[in-house]
Symmetry: C2
Subunit: 239 residues, 2 copies
DNA sequence: CGATCGTTTGACAAGGGTCAAAATGCGTGG
DNA sequence: CCACGCATTTTGACCCTTGTCAAACGATCG
């Protein structure tokens, strides 16, 4: 096998997403693109970071999926959230931070460093907005797991994931690869894999979800949104 | 009854907590104490802020409890977290932020503005650490609601609340007032009030929880901690 | 072509929800 | 001090969603 080295397609999820989050200067854009060339590659199913461990500098995911996991003493697992292309790991304002969760590569992963920003700059605004989105995702996760039925949880999650993917890859708004096993979904949703399986079948039967070979699409997205009360996230006014 | 006007004891939860989170300069401390005199009082059971609404400047809670709520279209409610004395509302780095949750006063509430900090200052480090704690609380909340049994959820929550209260009020480490109805607890834990009630009775029967007239204590805290796998939060190394 | 991982199915169990009513507590006003 | 009204807690009976255990099925990979 030919490991590592460069790859053909340029990966630019970080700069793409950040420039949608705020107005960036030409300098900042260039800096980001330079950072995107310092890639680090990681095999699937590997921990990038363990809970309680000191965090290295902030990094962005350029391709692949990661998830943030809490594992209990008896082996129960809760996935607290996913990290998608263009999103960040370890964005943190204070000194000597420790990882609040373990970070697990769901698929093979390409990451790059997230450059430092000047206070008051466009880039720092973009980071701040990214952080605000992360916050919303966590809040949405609490609500999902706390108050939605299994049926609603699954739909709501996948709807959110589609929106997040589409920020960086417009094609995802039509259909997208979901690289999750039903067991991972279960761990994210506070369910068991068996029940996730049955519930997905129900969604399919109801004509609300198509999931073939790991590719997702929604036959009638707006009906589904209404049914589970999904609404896209807004973090700021005048935006 | 003698309502309102000033109050006897000086409220200083904000400066107390912040100075435990980082080394503050004398100037900063003074600024905080000045801010603590600009109090705003709010009756219990009132919204301070609604989901999706523009946020005013950041504020701290000086006394009383608030909670962050998501309400679904059909009336289901999820409490995403609590805000205790010394903790913040609307700490946010980006411009024109919208509230991600509704903010509800659980008890009567006294708040004050949270002064701006200079980048790189001790105060800004303290804010950053406070934010990191908020993050942890949210992550813990996901894990609780996603993977713990009712019994564990209740214990784990109350243990966490005790630790958080004790930051500002050492006496809370022995026993403290929990101003929550069983219904509020239920909405926080993704349970029903009826089930919360039965579960609390179980905790009492097991000699793990004493709850009389709204005052909580733990007859054997370390046993309880082990039983539910509770561990205090650490956000940073060398700290 | 076995091994392994993920999905699917079935039968059954249990944790927690629902509904309804009784009991308790508490602030208000007489 | 008592009486009322409301909110909260408590109890009981029953039900439903989701979990558990086990096995079969299907893909993918050395």
């Amino acid at each position: 096998m030919s490991m590592a080295k460069p790859q053909r397609a340029a990966l630019k999820a970080m700069s793409t997403r950040l420039s949608r989050l705020a107005e960036l200067s030409a300098d900042e854009l260039e800096m980001l693109q330079a950072a995107e060339r310092e890639q680090r590659r990681l095999p699937a199913r590997r921990d990038l970071l363990s809970e309680g461990e000191p965090i290295g500098g902030p990094r962005a995911v350029l391709s692949g999926w990661a998830c943030r996991v809490r594992t209990l003493a008896d082996g129960r697992r809760q996935i607290v959230g996913f990290v998608l292309p263009g999103e960040f790991i370890g964005l943190c304002q204070h000194r000597n931070p420790l990882a609040p969760t373990t970070l697990l590569a769901v698929t093979e992963l390409v990451t790059c460093p997230a450059p430092r920003s000047e206070p008051g700059s466009g880039l720092s605004e973009a980071y701040a907005r990214s952080t605000a989105f992360d916050d919303h995702y966590l809040i949405a996760q609490v609500t999902r797991v706390g108050r939605l039925s299994a049926y609603e949880r699954i739909a709501d999650t996948i709807l959110e994931l589609q929106d997040r993917l589409a920020v960086v890859d417009p094609a995802a708004a039509v259909r997208f690869r979901l690289p999750l096993t039903q067991e991972l979904l279960a761990d994210a949703l506070g369910l068991t894999a068996v029940h996730v399986n049955r519930t997905i079948q129900a969604l399919r039967r109801d004509g609300l979800l198509a999931w073939q070979n790991g590719t997702i699409s929604f036959p009638d997205r707006s009906r589904l949104e209404k049914l589970v009360g999904y609404a896209p996230i807004r973090i700021s006014g005048l935006g």
